[in-house]
């Protein structure tokens, strides 16, 4: 298992040190860090990185909020609890490409119902701001269920006695949530956020289907894909791949620093 990921990763590291373009295979030669320099000095990379971070931060924070609402609804709803859980699994299970298509058609000015519904005109995916809105909302729709289910599992771990005691002490629902439930759920929230952030950072399918990176919505995964598969420039593309990998490591390290103590404490218990 490790071999299948570690080997390609090392191979990517190796390739990234070469000038290697499949359209000109004869010109393969060692260039050291030159590929990294050209990626890091290109505007495309930094633009894509900030796009990806924007999408990641916006969608993950919305998912956390909405996920909590969903989780509370799923926990409290007495009627139709099974229905809600089943319905929520549909976005989780659906193919990302299909979800992206469905939302694209919904926001489309000719086929879509959104404009008719809101009395608006205009092509959402033809402008940068609204295109980001559509992409982020597709991500949120698709992945909130996952967040909600993790949070729900965390909610059931909060001891009832603690909440009852807080109630007896006169804490209102709001205070109970923020002072009792949230601190108790810190480890679960940490895990859910970590999973989702790393997952959101590699976003590719949605953007590819909805804009193909047009209107300045290109993400880092798309930059890598375009260099590797579209332009067949393996050296440059591998440098992008390695940089993405380093970003993911950095994100993971940040989370482990922020939530790490909670996570390991939980493991020992």
């Amino acid at each position: 298992m490790l071999v299948v990921t570690a080997y390609p990763m090392l191979y990517a590291l190796w390739l990234s040190l070469f000038r290697y373009d499949l359209r000109f295979p004869g010109e393969r030669r060692f260039v050291g860090l030159e590929n990294y320099l050209s990626v890091l000095s290109s505007e495309t990379w930094w633009q894509a990185l900030s796009n990806t971070l924007l999408i990641t931060v916006a969608s993950v924070s919305l998912e956390l909020l909405l996920g909590f609402v969903f989780a509370l609804v799923m926990q409290r709803a007495l009627i139709g609890r099974r229905l809600v859980r089943t319905a929520v699994l549909v976005p989780y299970g659906i193919i990302t490409v299909v979800a992206a298509m469905s939302w694209r058609f919904a926001f489309d000015p000719t086929t879509g119902f959104v404009n008719a519904l809101l009395g608006l005109e205009g092509a959402w995916l033809a402008q940068s701001g609204s295109a980001f809105f559509v992409i982020i909302q597709t991500e949120v729709w698709k992945t909130t269920p996952f967040m909600a289910l993790l949070l729900l599992a965390g909610l059931t771990l909060v001891p009832e006695d603690l909440l009852r005691a807080a109630r007896v002490d006169g804490a209102n629902a709001w205070q109970r949530f923020f002072r009792v439930t949230l601190p108790q759920m810190r480890p679960v929230i940490g895990v859910a956020l970590l999973f989702r952030t790393l997952d959101a950072f590699r976003i590719f399918d949605t953007v590819f289907v909805q804009t193909r990176g047009a209107q300045g919505t290109e993400t880092v995964s798309m930059v890598g894909y375009n260099a590797l598969i579209t332009r067949l420039n393996l050296g440059l593309g591998s440098a992008v791949s390695v940089l993405i990998f380093l970003c993911v490591l950095a994100i993971a390290a940040l989370y482990l620093k922020g939530f790490g103590s909670d996570m390991s404490r939980r493991e020992e218990s």
């Binding site: 298992m1 490409v97 299909v98 086929t111 599992a153 995964s221 894909y225 590797l228 393996l234």
Partner: protein, 276 residues
Amino acid sequence: MATGRLERLLWGMGSAVVVVYALLPVVWIVSLSLKPGADLGDQRFLPRVASLEHYAAVFHDPQFSAALWNSLGIAGLSTLAAVLLGMFAAYAIARLEFPGRRLMLAAALAIAMFPTISIVGPLFDMWRSLGLYDTWAGLILPYMTFTLPLAIWTLAAFFREIPWDLEKAARVDGATPLQAFVHVIVPLAAPGVFTAAILVFMFAWNDFLFASALTSTDHARTVPAAIAFFTGSSRFEQPTGSIAAASVVVTVPIILLVLLFQRRIVAGLTAGAIKG
């Protein structure tokens, strides 16, 4: 208890909102797929008249049938392989105290969160020289890499709950290790194995990045890639109806899995994250 009733009503309304939000795009794409060609641009949420013309078109398209077959085959085989291998690894993790046990789980998790794009390039290069480009095996291998950790996590979480003393009891009664495993442990482990299989299948069924990068023809192209590239030929005349119909067709298996195994999927999704 007036507040109690009010509260219940509010939570009930909340559930309704959640259900509508979750199902909205699904209903929408179904409705779009049923609109006859001329009505595709009518901007209505529901079709005026329903027609199956797009479904007929999609099933007559040899590209789509090939993609559907590829998807089923590749996702099915990846699931089988990942779950079989995952069972042995998870068994070892749950049962045996060996050094690096925790490290193995952590590595599995790290791989599951690995940025897929980072290995697409090397695989593309390697597969071309090994002759695996645009083949089933060329997709099954990377799928296994990413689903094996998922399978191991889910299975390890389930296996830890199994009363292993039963195995010992069977051994005392004279069963061989293999017999003890097959007759005692397998029935107990089956639900976990099944859950892992569903999750793995969903992953392989969903993937688009590998499918689009490592295939080029009907030979191994799966449905997500086929749907995305339906649009490829012309930006201005999109086969909206066909895309919608194809989308509905590939969503049906997912909806069925969700309806039938709702409880299992929820358990599987949360098991790894909460108990891990």
